[in-house]
Amino acid sequence: MLRRALYWTVHYLLIALYVLFALFPLYWLLKVALTPNELLYSEGIRLWPSRASLEHFSFVLAHSDFPLFFRNSLIVSGATSLLATLLSSACGYALSRFRFQGKSLLVALMLVTQMFPLVMLIAPMFRLLVPLGLVNTLTGLIVVYTAFNAPFATFLMQSFFDAIPRELEEAAMIDGATRFGAFSRIILPLTLPGIAATAGFVFTAAWSELLFALMLNSSAHASTFPVGLLSFVSKFSVDFGQMMAAGVLALVPACLFFLMIQRFLVHGLTAGAVKG
C-alpha cells in the first residue's frame, strides 16, 4: 500500500518536474515581456517583476513592423499548411491504396529529400527562385515550404490511410459510389483526425522556419516573424522586452490553431494504436 503510494508520488513528481522544465522558458518569455525596461536588468532573476506593464506589447503592435511580419507569417503558414495537406492527402492515399510502376523509387526519393541538411540547399534554391521572380515574395516561401513539408506529410497521411480498412471503400463502391466518391464521402471523414494532425504539423513547421525565410526574403515587406524577431537585435543592443513581447504574440496563432484541431489530434495520434 505504502509502496504504491510512494510509486505514484514519485510518478507525479517526475511528471511535474518535466512539465516545469518544459514550460519554464515559456514562462520566462512572458515574464520578460511584461517587465518594464528599467526593471529588466535591475531585477534580473526575480521570478516576477515588482511592476508589470504592457508597454512592450503596445510598442511592438503600434510602432514596429511586427504586425506586418505577423500577417506575412499567417499567410505563408496558412497557405503552406493548406497546400501541403491537400497534396500529401492525395499522395498518401495513392501510396496507401494503389500499386503502380515506380512506387518504391518514388518513396525512396521522398525519403532522400528528408535526409540532408537544408543549409546545402539554400544556394541552389536561391538560384532557382531568382529568375522565377520568387525571391522576396511570400509565394516563393510558400512554394519552398510546401515542397519541403510535403514528403513527410505524405508519409504521415499514408499511415492514417493505412489504418482505415480497404473494405470500407470497397463496400462503398459496391453500394454505388465511384472511387472518388468513396474517398471523399467515406475515407476522408474518417481521416479528419489525421488531416488535422498533418495540417497542424505543417503549420508549426512553416510558422517557426527561420533559415529560408532569412535567406530568400531580405526585404521587410516579405519577412516572416522569426526574421522579424531578429530585427530586435541591433548592432549595439538587444531589446529583450520587445523581442519577448513579439515572441508571446507569435505564440498566439500557433496555440489557437492547435486548440482548434486538438480534439482531432488526440484521436489522430492514438487512432493507429487502438483501432480494433
Binding site: L168, A171, A172
Partner: protein, 354 residues
C-alpha cells in the same frame, strides 16, 4: 435475381497465378458456396465477380450482361464482408440507406426499404446507433441489412460469419438460409468452413490451388468426393485415408496393407499391384466387431458420440460412433471397414468410380 456465368476466368498477381481457367455457372436464385482452405483463390474469385479485382483472362456475365469492364457499382450486386465494413461515422439506418441515397431514391422509399430490412433482421431498436455501439452479431446483421435493402441481382458473401463465436455463427447460419429462402436471391458465399458450406449450399464448389476440384450438391461431395483433396476437406472429423495395394490372389480383387487385407466386391480397372489410397469416413468404421484388430490410442467423447483414435499396425484411423462404446485406451478391439463404404483413389489422387 440474376444468373451468373463465369467463363475461363483466370487471375494472376504479377506472375503468380491465383486462379486457373475457372468455369462456373450459377443459376438464378441458387445458393452457391465456394469452399476451400485459405489461399485457394475463393475470395479472389468472389472479388472478381464483384469487380474489386481485374480479370487476367476470361469473362464474367451477370444476368446475361458481360461485366468485365463495369465498375462494381454497375454490376447490380451487394456484398457482405468478413469485417462487415460498416461505415463507422454513420448510424445503422444511414449505413443501410447509403446505397439507395447514392441512387437518388426518394426519401420515403428509402425509409420504407430500411424499415422493411430492419424488421426482417430485428434491427429496429438499433437504427440510430453507430456501428461501434453494436455487438459482433448485430454488426453482422447490419451488414446483411445493407445488402438486402438494395434488392440486388446477386448477393456475394465473403466469409461473413468468420468473426463470430461458434454459437452465434450457428444461429446466423440458419438465419442466412432462412433469408435466402424468403428472398430467393442468387447468392455466392465464400467460406473455409466446410460445415457452413454443407449446411447452406444448394451446390458447393470446392477450390484448391486456384482450380475447381469438384462441383456438386453437398451430399455429392460428401458421399462421392472426386479426389483426395475434397475427401479430406469435407467432413469432420475428416475422412481416414491410408495407402494400400491392389492384389488379385486367386483372381479375387483385394486391398492389401501391411497389416490387413480387405476383399473388394468389384474389381477396379487397374493393373495388379497398383498403389491406391483408401478412404473411409470415421462413422462408417464398425467398432467392436469384424476381422481387423486395432489398438485404441485415444478416446474423445463429443457428447453427441465418441471419436476413437485407433492404430492398426502403422496405420492410424479415427472411428466415430453415436453409441457410447465402452472402450479403454490401450485395449485391442476388433473392427470392420465395410467394403461398400470405402472410397478408392488412384495414384493421381482422383476417385476410382464405384
Amino acid at each position: 435475381m440474376s444468373a451468373i456465368e463465369i467463363r475461363g476466368v483466370s487471375k494472376r498477381y504479377g506472375v503468380t497465378p491465383v486462379l486457373h481457367e475457372i468455369d462456373l455457372s450459377v443459376a438464378a436464385g441458387e445458393f452457391l458456396v465456394l469452399v476451400g482452405p485459405s489461399g485457394c483463390g475463393k475470395s479472389t474469385l468472389l472479388r472478381l465477380i464483384a469487380g474489386l479485382e481485374e480479370l487476367s483472362g476470361g469473362e464474367i456475365l451477370i444476368g446475361g450482361r458481360r461485366v468485365n469492364d463495369l465498375p462494381p457499382k454497375a454490376r447490380d450486386i451487394a456484398m457482405v464482408f468478413q469485417s462487415y465494413a460498416l461505415y463507422p461515422h454513420m448510424s445503422v439506418a444511414d449505413n443501410m440507406a447509403y446505397s439507395l441515397r447514392l441512387r437518388r431514391t426518394p426519401a420515403s422509399e428509402i425509409a420504407r426499404a430500411v424499415d422493411a430490412a430492419a424488421g426482417k433482421l430485428g434491427l429496429e431498436p438499433l437504427l440510430a446507433r453507430k456501428p461501434k455501439a453494436l455487438s459482433g452479431g448485430q454488426r453482422q446483421r447490419v451488414a446483411m441489412g445493407r445488402a438486402i435493402v438494395r434488392k440486388p441481382g446477386a448477393f456475394l458473401f465473403d466469409e461473413p460469419l468468420s468473426n463470430l463465436d461458434a454459437r452465434l455463427r450457428e444461429h446466423m447460419r440458419a438465419e442466412i438460409k432462412k433469408l435466402h429462402r424468403e428472398l430467393g436471391a442468387t447468392s455466392i458465399y465464400v467460406t473455409h468452413d466446410q460445415i457452413e458450406a454443407m449446411t447452406l449450399a444448394d451446390r458447393i464448389v470446392a477450390l484448391h490451388g486456384g482450380r475447381v476440384q469438384q462441383v456438386g450438391s453437398p451430399l455429392d461431395l460428401y458421399d462421392r468426393p472426386a479426389n483426395l483433396f475434397v475427401a479430406g476437406f469435407i467432413g469432420s472429423p475428416g475422412m481416414n485415408m491410408f495407402p494400400a495395394q491392389l492384389k488379385r490372389p486367386n483372381g479375387r480383387p483385394t486391398l492389401a496393407t501391411p497389416t490387413f487385407e480387405i476383399p473388394l466386391a468389384r474389381d477396379p480397372p487397374l493393373p495388379e499391384g497398383s498403389a491406391l489410397t483408401v478412404g473411409i469416413r470415421p462413422e462408417h468404421i464398425v467398432l467392436g466387431s469384424g476381422a481387423i484388430r486395432g489398438t485404441v490410442d485415444l478416446i474423445e467423447p463429443t457428447g453427441l458420440g465418441t471419436i476413437a483414435h485407433l492404430t492398426l499396425g502403422g496405420t492410424e484411423l479415427k472411428g466415430f460412433s453415436l453409441e457410447r462404446p465402452s472402450l479403454s485406451v490401450g485395449a485391442t478391439i476388433s473392427l470392420d471397414l465395410p467394403v461398400s463404404r470405402l472410397h478408392l483413389f488412384g495414384g493421381d489422387g482422383t476417385r476410382i468410380p464405384d
